[in-house]
Amino acid sequence: MAQPPVLLETQALTRSFGGLTAVDNLDFVVRKDEIVSLIGPNGAGKSTVFNLISGIYPPTAGRILFKGVNIAGLKPDRVERQGIARTFQTLRLFANMTVLENVLVGFHSRLKSNVIEDLIRPPWVARAERDAVEEARQLLRMLGQRLYTQQEFRAADLAYADRRLLELARAMASQPDLLMLDEPTAGMNPSEAADFMELIRRVHDRGFTILLIEHNLSVVMGVSQRITVLDYGLKISEGTPDEVRRDERVIEAYLGRKAATA
C-alpha cells in the first residue's frame, strides 16, 4: 500500500535558548490526512516545536519542509499563508471581538482586498465579505449549536470550553493543509476532553491533517495514528500508540515505570 505523501517534515530541527537546547536535532514527519501527536513531559520541547513551525522564532539549525518547501524562519503570517494554522495552549482569542468576528479574522488570508477597496468597498468586496460571513456561520454550526447561537457574543464572555472551540474554528477558517492543536483539552475535565476529542476526529474526517500536542494520554492514544515522544528536546520514541505505549524508554521518561506497572 502506497503511503500518503509527506506534508510536513522536520530535518535536524534544533533550537536553543541561551545555553539550553529546547529542541535537539529533531526529525519527524506528518503525512497527509494523518493525526500525529507530540507527547512528552512538560518542558520537553513540544511547544517549542510548534513555535518553530509556526514561525514565532526561527530555528537555531535544521529545516522545516512543508509541501517540499523550507519554511524555517518565515514569519507567522507567511507560514499561515503556506497553509498551516494553529491553536494555542493558553487560549489566544480576540477577547473584545464577537465570535463571528474572531472566525472572520481566520478568513483573512482567503479574502483578498487592497487598501483602495477597503476604503470604498466596491460590490465585489461586499459580496466576498457576505460569503465569508455565511461560511463562518456554517463552520460555527458544524462545531456545535451553542457556538452558533452565540455568534454575536464577545469572545471573552464565552464559557471556557466554547472558547477552545472558537479557537479551533478560527484556525479551521483558513482551510489549512495542516492544523496544529496545542493541548486543546488543557483545562477541560475528562468528559469535556472526551467530547472534544470526538470533535477532533470529526474535523479530521472532513479532510484536515492534524498535528497535536496533548497531555491527556487517554485522549492521545485514542485519536492518534502515530505518536512522537519528546523528552528534553530529543525524540525518544515514535510509532503507533501501541508501539509507543510499550516502548521502554517512553515508560522510563514519561509514563513512569511505577505508573506503567501499577
Binding site: L20, P41, N42, S218, G256, A262
Partner: protein, 249 residues
C-alpha cells in the same frame, strides 16, 4: 485508612494552613469556588488538577497576590488574606513558583539573598550554608548567573531560594515541570528531605503519581472546585484519579 479515621487525624492536628470557603475572581471570571483546604503541621499535601483548574490561583491566593472575594485564608490560626505578600513571607510561607522563576541575570548567590529579603535576623549565613549542603551544585556555581544554569539546577535554586526565607510552610507550584524523570525523582527526594527537617509542604503537581507517592493527603481541583479530598493512597486507588491524572483507561 477509612474516611472516618482520616477526618479524625485531620481534626487532631492544628492545621498550619487553612482555606475556609475561599472564592476568587479575575474580573467577572470565577476562579476558585468556595474552596476548603487544610494543611497540617509537618505534612506534605498535594493539590492535583488540570491546567486552568485554579492551582496557580491557589498559590497566588496564599501569597496575597490574589485576594479572595469571600472566605478566609488562615495561617497558624491567624487570617492572612488581605495581608501584603511581604508580611505573609515574613510570617513563614515561602513559594517555589511555577516554572522556577529564578532571576536569570542575578547570580546564584544573589538569588538566594533575594529569598532572604524579609529576614531581619542575623542567621542568613547559616541558612545559606544549609542550602549549599543540600545542593552542593549551587555552591560550586554561586557566582554564575542563574539564567545559565540547567533546568534541574534552576529548580534546586528555586527551592534553595525559598528555604532562605526559613519558612514553616513551603508552597511548590509544579516542581517537576520541565524536568527529566531522573531529575524529577531527585527533586522529590529533596522535598521529602526538607519535609523531614521540619518544613510543611503544600504542592501543586501535574505528575500525580509522583506527588501522591510523597504526600500524605491530596486534593483534586476541577474548574475551581475541590472534587476529591482524601489520603494519598486512597486517591491513588480512586478511579477518577487513575483515569484523569494517571492516564489509565
Amino acid at each position: 485508612m477509612t474516611n472516618e479515621s482520616l477526618r479524625h487525624t485531620l481534626e487532631e492536628k492544628q492545621p498550619l494552613l487553612e482555606f475556609r470557603g475561599v472564592d476568587t475572581y479575575y474580573g467577572s471570571l470565577h476562579i476558585l469556588k468556595s474552596v476548603d483546604y487544610r494543611v497540617g503541621e509537618g505534612e506534605i499535601v498535594a493539590l492535583l488538577g488540570a491546567n486552568g483548574a485554579g492551582k496557580t490561583t491557589t498559590m497566588k491566593t496564599i501569597l496575597g497576590i490574589v485576594r479572595p472575594r469571600s472566605g478566609q485564608v488562615l495561617f497558624e490560626g491567624k487570617r492572612i488574606d488581605g495581608e501584603q505578600t511581604g508580611r505573609i513571607v515574613e510570617a513563614g510561607i515561602a513559594p517555589v513558583p511555577e516554572g522556577r522563576r529564578v532571576f536569570p541575570r542575578l547570580t546564584v548567590l544573589d538569588n538566594l539573598k533575594m529569598g532572604a529579603w524579609t529576614r531581619k535576623d542575623g542567621q542568613v549565613k547559616q541558612d545559606m550554608d544549609r542550602v549549599y549542603d543540600l545542593f552542593p551544585r549551587l555552591a560550586e556555581r554561586k557566582n554564575q548567573q542563574a539564567g545559565t544554569l540547567s533546568g534541574g539546577e534552576q529548580q534546586m535554586l528555586a527551592i534553595g531560594r525559598a528555604l532562605m526565607a526559613r519558612p514553616r510552610l513551603m508552597i511548590m507550584d509544579e516542581p517537576s515541570m520541565g524536568l527529566s524523570p531522573i531529575l524529577t525523582e531527585r527533586v522529590f527526594d529533596t522535598v521529602v528531605e526538607i519535609n523531614k527537617q521540619g518544613t510543611t509542604i503544600f504542592m501543586v503537581e501535574q505528575n500525580a503519581y509522583m506527588a501522591l507517592q510523597v504526600a500524605v493527603r491530596g486534593y483534586v481541583l476541577q474548574t475551581g472546585e475541590v472534587v476529591l479530598a482524601d489520603t494519598a493512597p486512597n486517591l491513588l486507588a480512586s478511579d477518577m484519579v487513575r483515569k484523569a491524572y494517571l492516564g489509565e483507561t
